[in-house]
Symmetry: C2
Subunit: 427 residues, 2 copies
């Protein structure tokens, strides 16, 4: 194991890490295998994946059913160019996705990762407005938002540590105050003022419905989503929902928009779509948008955005297997019971007065550690968690629990009992 760590640090630069932290602040952990909610190390260690490996895994690692479907697919067709060619797994998947939204959308456009599909939605919204002779040049998004890290996605994001260094490269996005919990009236007012002043310049308003995940798990009222969407309709601006993190049951419904009483023009999905197996993303949209681009070749209206592996058959097979499990295990209903159980158990953490703002939304639970000035308490929870067999990866001093849906009640108890042990050391 030591040689793995040494070689990793010699040859690899990890994402979203200050590599210097590996000198003494955090260990680098080689994972040998995984099964269900558990990740296994090389010396008998095991960790409960409390964050679903960056919010992607929903039915456990190396899920036997998804494994089998992946193996079956690779014996038939691993990949084929997705321009002019197609295959059954993606047709099946597309049909199911549209049906799952109760036909609120008409078409699926695919990409490989969350950032890329956000770029697709931004470009589609932008080009559609341009084809309609609107001289748009920017977007509206929320303060505290995270939408990915390619330049377009970064432009509509607002988490300083991610985009500060790249300001001269970013395209224009007006950031309005983010709603927090039930406080959203000010945000709505700011949105309406911004729309009034700039409506001819704005292509779309982009938001993460119900939870700004990377932005400290900021959960907020569905009414904001509804009213903001209606405002955008009133001013003729497209609405893009980034459900990359919150889609596929995470907020308690299959998609977060179901709880908001509105549908966006573009619904971006990724992460859980393949069950945590493979990069795959898709934007769902309506024929009103599709038709703007649909024209004889010589009119040059084709939407030219492609990635080599767009529509990858292996990823689609995993996605179909994931949707099979949703259906046969009635997962959305089962999660309500599980979410209540987690919520109840989590109340015990309130005995620690430095734990504040305990909140939940479906299968996401979060709280903040407050009162420790200039201390990386989140990092301490990460390190102590590892020693107790928990993979937690706090966002600063916000701790969140966002496990695979297959976690058992016993495993939940184990997590919270160990969290309590950790917090006892903080007193």
């Amino acid at each position: 194991m030591d040689s793995l760590v040494r070689e990793d640090l010699e040859y690899i630069w990890h994402p979203c890490m200050q590599m210097h932290d590996f000198e003494k602040n955090v260990p680098l952990v080689p994972i040998k295998s995984a099964s269900g909610v558990y990740l296994y190390g090389y010396n008998g260690e095991k960790y409960i994946d409390c964050i679903s490996s960056w919010w992607v895994n929903i039915f456990g690692h190396c899920n036997p059913y998804i494994n089998q479907k992946l193996k079956e697919q690779v014996d038939k067709l691993e990949h084929v160019i997705f321009a002019t060619f197609t295959h059954e797994p993606i047709i099946t998947l597309s049909k199911r996705l549209i049906k799952l939204t109760n036909y609120s959308f008409d078409k699926c456009f695919y990409a490989d990762n969350g950032s890329s599909v956000i770029e697709v939605a931004l470009k589609m919204a932008f080009a559609a407005k341009r084809f309609e002779d609107k001289n748009v040049n920017s977007f509206i998004s929320l303060q505290n938002a995270y939408h990915g890290e390619t330049i377009g996605a970064l432009s509509i994001g607002d988490i300083g540590i991610y985009n500060e260094s790249y300001k001269p490269l970013l395209c224009k996005s007006i950031k309005i105050k983010a709603p927090r919990g039930d406080f959203y009236l000010e945000s709505l007012e700011e949105l309406e003022n911004t729309l009034k002043e700039n409506k001819d310049k704005i292509a779309a308003f982009v938001l993460e419905p119900l939870i700004q995940c990377a932005g400290g798990m900021n959960m907020y009222n569905a009414e904001f989503v509804k009213e903001a969407t209606n405002l955008c309709r009133k001013y003729g601006i497209y609405v893009i929902f980034d459900e990359i993190a919150v889609g596929f049951g995470r907020t308690g419904s299959m998609f977060a928009f179901e709880q908001c009483g509105v549908t966006p023009d573009f619904l971006c999905l990724s992460k859980g779509i393949s069950g945590g197996y493979l990069p795959l993303s898709v934007v769902l949209l309506k024929n009103e948008v599709y038709n703007i681009f649909y024209a004889p070749f010589y009119e040059n209206k084709a939407f030219l955005h492609s990635h080599s592996y767009t529509g990858n058959a292996l990823a689609c097979a995993c996605a179909n297997a994931t949707l099979d499990i949703f259906e046969k295990d009635n997962v959305i209903v089962a999660n309500k019971i599980l979410s209540d159980f987690i919520w109840e158990k989590a109340q015990e953490l309130l005995e620690f007065n430095f734990i504040q703002n305990l909140r939940r939304c479906g299968m996401v639970l979060a709280f903040d550690i407050v009162g420790f000035v200039n201390e990386r308490k989140g990092l301490e929870v990460f390190n102590k968690g590892l020693k107790k067999g928990l993979l937690l990866r706090p966002l600063g001093n916000t701790i969140y629990f966002m496990p695979p849906y297959v976690i058992t009640k016993d495993e939940v108890l184990f997590v919270f009992d160990n969290l309590k042990c950790i917090f006892e050391t903080f007193q």
Copy 2:
């Protein structure tokens, strides 16, 4: 099969396509299975994949060895978060990649697709210059370049159909005249003048070494790459080689830079890396760059770029299997013989006087169809090719042959004999 086509067109918007073309200009082709160089349809049709499914497949579809390695991996570990955690497949892969470059690079930073890894390199180069207190705000790239379609990648690209609609969103990139064949002196002069005038504002120069692939398979002299790189060194500008399409043996050497007598600061790889199975990309770079970001946490110098599936274990397993095949089959040497055979056979096409500019570089062969004004001759080749069992996807009226390396001599003969039949109908 008809119902597949109908359902596809009902629910799916394909990449890089004017969907209107499916009404009468091109068929949509459902693929049921694949093996080696062949794609199989639903009614007994088979097609030789002459373009390696957008230049990704190098050892054939559903390659038994890669299939086996993928299956073995999914029984151990399908995916784990790649921040703070790691796994053997990616450590092995990183070590092998660095070794394959003869230690010209030190570190690997991963992403999922070509566009994303270009964005990584652009952001790294940009932030590194900023950390060194240079007030950079732009890049230099080549006219006729293609580097991907997310906003950052699009900004350094220069193929009008891709980025015209998005101009107000793009970041600044100065485009200099592209070299063509042996004509590169003017380009070098323009590069030097641009560097002289703007050196304090430029973070990096980006180019596709040896072949601008999407730009009509424009092959050009390695001397340009060498001298341009040396000029950038002289003026203190980073150099990024986009080897997404040309890496992994495509130009005749494992990497194109080997033929140029220089190494860039950033080497971007994707496509062939996973053998055509799964989205995976990586940028190789030197410790001089890595060290600029390596600092105590509180200095805020971490390079924060991540994708959920960065470092995906399944994709890495396919990549390792691909490198195994390169080694055991001595592929680079074998391809030289194959490339000569293809070149010799292709000479027969010169009997058609509308075929011009026949050219090759390693395992890429291309030629242009000239003299037909305002006719989509490429499209005609595509359609007639399909009827003869060939998957060709011309770039406008440029036809290219870029097959998996496992194609046999008989299959090559089949391709060119059928191409000749197609061209006979043009006379």
